[in-house]
Structure formats: C-alpha cells, structure tokens
Symmetry: C2
Subunit: 152 residues, 2 copies
C-alpha cells in the first residue's frame, strides 16, 4: 500500500504534538490510517484498518480520537446524504475547502472546489459577522452518468 505523494505522513501527529496532545501508540496508528485514507471513511472502516496495524485497538479509542481530531479542526465530518445509514464519514481537513456531491442513484461521491464557494464563506464572515470554524456542504442528486440514463 503506497503512501500518497500529496501528504507527508506524520503531519497530523506533528500537529497534535505541537499542541501538547499526548501521543500514544493507538493514536499514532489511527492518525496514520486517517492520513493515508484514499476515500471518506466511517468509524468502523477506520477501526478495521487500524486493527490491521494494531489488532488490540478498541472502537472506543477510534471514536475518542475522532472527537479529538474534530475538536482540533483536523478532520471534517460528513453525512454524505445518509446514503448508507446514519453513520458519519471523516476526512483530513484539506488546505482548501471543498464540497461534496452524492449521487442518489449510484452512490458515487464527487468533490468540488470553487471560487464561488470561497467567496460565499467570505461573504458570510463579513455580512453576518460570523467567525467560521467548520464548513460542510453536501449536495444530493444525480451524477452526469446516472442522469443520462434517467433518474429511475
């Protein structure tokens, strides 16, 4: 399983340590899974991947670590339109925010960055005097392929 070139492994760990958070074996494992994930993972997928590295990890620790990462603004939480039940999905927060499109027919998840999105956030900060910490935009509908074949 090759690491993605786009992200330094250990970045999350370094970030947390610089903020005085204790680094345990379990946390290191979970952070590495979050960091090298290629898609949006839910807590149980995360646990499974973490257990491949350290079979002793408990699911509670996964939940606790996710909460920690959320609190520090290092991961974002998504519903992905509840395409698969009530679970939540997680992804490392990227440099630039993006929005998510979920195809209600084929289940595909698409991501999109946009200047309009960035400008919208700017407008909110200015006009509403609201200090933005987290952004979450999700769209449900039909992707280009599924819409061609008809929204049956």
């Amino acid at each position: 399983m090759p690491l993605p070139q786009t992200e330094q492994p250990g970045r999350l760990q370094a970030e947390l340590m610089s903020r005085g958070v204790r680094m345990t074996r379990q946390r290191r494992t979970i952070l590495s899974v979050v960091e090298t994930a290629q898609q949006h993972l839910d807590a149980s997928q995360l646990l499974r991947k973490a257990r491949r590295i350290d079979p002793e990890i408990d699911r509670v620790t996964v939940y606790r670590t996710l909460k920690l990462l959320k609190r520090h603004g290092l991961v974002d939480e998504l519903d992905l339109m509840h395409l698969q039940g009530e679970k939540h999905f997680y992804e490392r927060r990227p440099q630039r925010d993006h929005l998510h499109m979920a195809c209600l027919r084929c289940g595909k998840i698409l991501e999109f960055e946009s200047n309009l999105f960035d400008r919208l956030k700017g407008q909110i900060q200015r006009e509403c005097q609201f200090h933005i910490l987290v952004t979450r935009m999700e769209i449900g509908g039909y992707c280009s392929q599924c819409r061609a074949t008809g929204p049956a």
Copy 2:
C-alpha cells in the same frame, strides 16, 4: 398558538395529495406541525407537538412521515453541527435555499440566503453536470455576539 402569516396551512397536505399520496388523520396532524413550526425540529420534538393534537400518534409514524416528506423533497434534513447529539432536524423546504450557521458557543442557529450560494449551485449543475435535488450547507463557528466576548 397563532398560525404564521408567511405560509398557507395545508400546503404540504395539498402537495402530497396532488401526488397521489394517501392522506391519513396522523399525516395531516404531523404535516400541520411541520408547517407551523417556528424553528428546526427533531423527530422527538415533532412527536411531542403532534401528540398535543392527537395523543395516539406513534413515533414510528413520525419517522415514516419524515421519510415520505424527504422522498418528495418537501422537507430538508439538517445536522446543525451535532450541537445536541446525533439527532437530525427538519424544516419545510423553502422557496429559496438557505444555509445554516450554528454557533458552537451559544447554540444559536442562523439562516442566510445569498446570491453567491445560488450561483454556486448553478456552477455545479453546469460544470459538474450534476443534477441537484437536495442542498445542505452548514457552518460551525462563533456568532457575532459570542465572538465579541471571546471564543472561550
């Protein structure tokens, strides 16, 4: 409890009936609650309000009616940043979409309409060839008041 002037009561009911959905006593009750709600309600708040009108209504029926309304695109579902647990909140879908800001300190929910928001959706439909059915934008942060007092 006076009805709000902004919305015709019975609108949801009429909409569903025009689509051939059977209208039961329970559904009428729940629809009226959704329609006259002044804030975003979760399923259990909805049940409580519905039971004030018809004490026999079961929570299962509330969930089923919400699913029906979602399927027909007549209500939107929100997380409101999970400020109060894992529950979901519901609101009648408005003419024009708006986004939600949740203050992580005082819990206030603010709504905002924006041309940039509308244009962003247009951009997505065009550039991604994605047929939008549902939009959900939620922002977490500090409202003007809380940010003035410091984000403690």
